[in-house]
Symmetry: C2
Subunit: 107 residues, 2 copies
DNA sequence: TCGTTTCATCGTAAAAATACGATAAAGGAA
DNA sequence: TTCCTTTATCGTATTTTTACGATGAAACGA
């Protein structure tokens, strides 16, 4: 019998492919930008806030924030809900749960 | 007493900052490139292989592979060990373990 | 020594990402 | 309607990333 200590620890499998890999890489790419990561952090503490709140919080132009929100939306990190002239943003819990579980299973 | 079902599920905390956030974002950025992700996958099944093996496996130039390896090294995903004229590459288990645990705790 | 192998780095071209001001669209208030 | 607020999109400039060929460095064998 092989002692437990000699069994090499599998540090990760990276067992993913095709559409799932594409989706995961898109999510990874989206959060690997510091500004977008900060937007996500802001949404954790300010769920349902509007674009203007994020614009006020960040030191960048409104057009740039809007562009980052689009990237986060398309990657599946956030959901936007139009309400009058404003848009409320929330974390996309379902996709984030998928991300967490996928990363947990392949790394 | 509040029923369990009404307790909102915390989808993520994103509780990270400073040097740790910087390191995490660098690792995220490094793997969000498809070629680099494929290199990591190759290393899972070919631990200790040399640069030339990766060059043969991928459809891109040697200089480009070397550049990607540099990015992965600096981000902490892999370790390179010079052996004669060759360089053996392995996954950086310790950093990958850190990555996995960090992602698990903030998402 | 001389040539070969292996790999990193240099210089540079092309593509993608990031940022901005200006503008457009759409809802609400007067 | 007219004006104001809010946000997305357009066009574009700048920066960063990605890719390549060429070159250099270092180890090895003949």
């Amino acid at each position: 019998m092989i002692p437990l200590t000699t069994i090499p620890e599998q540090c990760c499998t990276l067992d993913i492919d095709g559409a799932e890999q594409k989706k995961l890489l898109a999510m990874l790419k989206a959060i690997s930008n510091n500004t977008r990561f900060e937007i996500l952090k802001f949404l954790v503490t300010h769920p349902g806030c509007i674009t203007g709140d994020i614009v006020d919080y960040l030191p960048i132009a409104q057009a740039t924030v809007s562009q980052h929100l689009k990237v986060l939306r398309h990657a599946g990190w956030i959901c936007g809900t139009v309400s009058g002239t404003a848009t409320n943003y929330c974390l996309d819990d379902a996709n984030i749960a998928w991300f967490k579980s996928k990363v947990g299973q392949i790394f």
